[in-house]
């Protein structure tokens, strides 16, 4: 391995230590910008049915979200009808004189126009800096309309992307009524955003729902994945909470446990047989449904037995180089590392940015508690200025790293061209979804088979040139 291209080589625990002590600075270069707090707040709020997200700001902030989340994602693929994204369209005059009056009128107008079940005022940079008191306006406005009006301070500068998710989930908790009864054998799924899952393909959340249904566990609400205000109001009547992704559900799960005493099932992502079993039992055991769950696990395991056998045979003794930086993301990469190990491979995770470690600290620590502590390599390209330079350099470095390991197999997406079989785990090809649960084992087995059986076929010079230039290594 070329030492001059390696910025870090050690275990996940060692990387975490370096980030915590400040030895590795968790800062992204200027050419790499994650979403702001406003965007992620909007993501969560837009996952509630019949809600008006009322953006107190100029048109740029809401329009990006309405184009991307509302029209492209929700209307086009998730079967959601056209819902409003309202905006107060703050201008220079409002910035000078304040926009509170306009906001109050906007809430009334939004209610008259859209008859929503809920209005959530989202502040952005402008309204935050000029000091508009969105919470007071929300309280005032709620007396004048026929639905709940909440306010969320979601100024883009006010926190990183995670804080938007977390604050939005915290706000949703304000809608939860004290329980009148307990819904036996019922849970909430926490940590969703954007809306329900796409209609045309089966996704991870659908696999979770299917398996829970087989066991006889009911779901009150997927918060906030297309849930209604009514479902949120009854959210405290469930027996427990769970999440299909520990990372996304962790904050609201912990908060609901702390404030309402509702237990939160702490399990990792259900990648592979062991993690799937843990996930299902993590929910079923506290509900007293362990036996039924074990029956389902046994039945499902039998269904995918040939796939499990194949994966063991195919991956045993191999080095699984895992780099999933954009799609599907770093937590999945770590879950995959665990799955690869279960099937007999040695996992090496590439390029989990220190920024990611900082932003996902509780989840990373939890994974370490579970014993997930894979070998990690960070290359210098990860820290280069410029998205092309960074991407090109990390590609070159990845190709070098792969050659250092015996019998490597790459888990990532097809945008990489290492000299070894490539397992294309992108979420942008729904034909091989879900990746979770038992159906996921079948799909991952199919993807590994594709990678190994076609390893000698030529890769696309066209796509490689597109990504890394015609003079790519």
């Amino acid at each position: 391995m070329k030492d001059d291209s390696i910025a870090f080589h050690g275990s996940l625990q060692q990387l975490l230590d370096k980030v915590e002590t400040g030895e590795m600075i968790p800062k992204l270069q200027a050419s790499h910008a994650p979403m702001c707090k406003f965007f992620t707040s909007y993501y969560v709020i837009s996952g509630i049915k019949h809600v008006v997200p009322l953006v107190h700001g100029p048109t740029g902030c809401p329009l990006y979200m309405s184009d991307f989340v509302r029209t492209r994602e929700c209307c086009e693929t998730r079967g959601v009808p056209l819902e409003p994204t309202a905006c107060t369209v703050l201008d220079e005059s409002n910035v000078i004189y304040g926009g509170e009056g306009k906001l109050l009128e906007a809430v009334k107008e939004a209610y008259a126009k859209y008859h929503p079940d809920l209005i959530v005022i989202l502040s952005c940079c402008c309204s935050g800096i000029i000091g508009d008191d969105v919470e007071s306006i929300a309280r005032e406005a709620e007396k004048m309309v026929g639905c709940r009006v909440l306010a969320l301070r979601s100024e883009g500068f006010g926190g990183d992307f995670r804080s938007g998710y977390e604050d939005a989930f915290r706000l949703i908790m304000d809608l939860m009524d004290p329980p009148q009864s307990t819904m036996k054998g019922t849970i909430n799924i926490l940590g969703a955003r954007w809306g329900p899952s796409p209609t045309e393909f089966t996704w991870d959340i659908d696999e979770i729902e299917r398996l829970l249904g087989e066991i006889g566990i009911r779901i009150n609400a997927i918060i906030a994945g297309g849930c209604s205000v009514e479902q949120i109001r009854h959210a405290r009547e469930v027996e427990m909470n769970a999440s299909w992704c520990y990372d996304w559900g962790q904050k609201i799960g912990d908060l609901m446990q702390e404030r309402f005493g509702i237990p939160y099932s702490k399990t990792g992502q259900p990648y592979g047989p062991t993690a799937t079993k843990e996930w299902l039992l993590g929910v079923a055991e506290p509900l007293g449904m362990e036996k039924k769950a074990l029956d389902v696990i046994e039945r499902e395991s039998c269904r995918v037995e040939p796939d499990i056998a194949y994966l063991k045979k195919a991956l045993s003794g191999k080095t699984a180089i895992i780099e999933i930086s954009e799609f599907p993301g770093p937590i999945r990469a770590l879950s995959l590392a665990r799955m690869a190990e279960e099937f007999g491979a040695h996992p090496v995770v590439i390029n989990v940015h220190p920024y990611t470690i900082k932003e996902r600290m509780p989840s990373i620590k939890y994974m370490l508690e579970l014993g997930i502590n894979p070998e990690i390599i960070l290359t210098n390209g990860l820290f280069r200025l410029g998205s092309f330079r960074s991407s090109k350099e990390t590609e070159d470095e990845l190709e070098d790293i792969v050659e250092e390991y015996e019998d490597p197999i790459f888990f990532g997406n097809s945008g990489r061209f290492p000299p070894c079989p490539v397992v294309n785990l992108t979420l942008l090809n729904p034909a091989f979804q879900p990746q979770y649960g038992f159906s996921g084992i079948k799909n991952i087995s199919a993807l590994v088979r594709q990678a190994l059986e076609n390893r000698d076929l030529p890769r696309s010079k066209l796509f490689r040139g597109m990504l890394y230039g015609t003079h790519a290594k």
Binding site: A30, P58, P62, L63, T71, V107, L385
Partner: protein, 452 residues
Amino acid sequence: MEHMPNEPVDAIEKPSPDKCSDPYLRCAFNGAAQTALGVSGCALLAHSPQGCDYLVNTAFASQECDYMETVTLCTKLCVDEIVHGGEDLLARTIREAKNLPISSMFVISACGPEIVGDDIVAVCEQVQPDVKFKLVPMPCAGFRGSQYDGIDIALDMMIKRLANGEREKIPDSVCLIAPHANANPTWAADLDWVKQALSQMGIRVVGTLAHRTQLSDIENIASAEASIVLSHDAGQMAADYLSATYGIEQLCKGMPLPIGMTNTRDWLAAIGERFDREKTAEDMVAEGERMVTAACRRKWPVARFLYRMPAAIVADATIGIPLVRFVTEEMEMTPELVALYSSRRAVRQLLEAELKDIGLSPDIVYGTDVYKTRKSLAEIRPRIVFGSTIERHACEGLDVPYVVEVVRMMRQFRMINREYFGYTGILNLLECVQNEWTMAWRSKEKRYESKW
């Protein structure tokens, strides 16, 4: 609702009574980014919180930038910079980028830093000696207006800071303004058609403001004899400035852009007349009309069966206004609703003139938003809508058989850019109608299962 059938032209510029809008247009910051990214070999530095960088990304896509060539950076302002100011961070970020192989860096500021008073002009002046590329500051906070205002602001800064007034005029030359203020998702093809038409007439394009434009083209812009604004939504301010400062005459002012037979004929004729190329223009029109007619005779577009169908047009003014005549004359439909994103005075005047000339009196919504569009569609109940993916969903439950997505579509993808301008543009629009008609007729379910 702002319904104004046959509203007199002087009843305009009324502020919208709405306090709560669901807008079609992005903010000024986005428009400025879109303009700056039209310059080749540049970098764009957003002095903003990190979310605004996503508006830069959409501008990047709209200008079809190549990520191997164009770098975008962001200062990613946080609470600290909002409280204590972000000028130091801006200076530091510019210096971090000093080795980038670029000719210019546009520094655009968002709402946050402008409200707290960061002086990006002063920072650029201070840091300029430390870097080899030219720094061009563009204060253009989102609250300054719509994306069209942002385009005007950026064009103004670009011309004032970069144009060199000492250049000699180049005979028979033009500069093209604001081709990117156009809701055709592949508007670059419209620009290509214009360039090709001008080239056919022997007219030189000195520079385009802005798409794949070299810095030297902007420096030379004052050498153009004439300008042509390629948008009804933005760019007029730049044309006025070029006229007042450098004596650059604006052509085709107050004329609909060249969509459809009549508009294209008039537009080419006006340019031919200005440059004494009437015969060439006439030949181009004759050949173009012959080509379109022959293509239709061979392909048989079904639009001919949609005779006098009640139609709605929901678009920007750049596509929407010329489309009115094309839909009425060539496709023989009857526009009963025209909803435009813009509400500028010039837009109103142009549309009113067109409607009067054609003899139409549809309902008009200026400065429409998604709510007004949906309400108007519910009232008018057109049978065909020319609009975007938003209108496809807004028409749910309204019994609208055809929604022809011609602007801002998300449902369809184009690998090859397609123009609406000119003669091939006519065929492209007929093709959009044809495909929508085909999809509407396609069976959504099978009546029984086959045996094999």
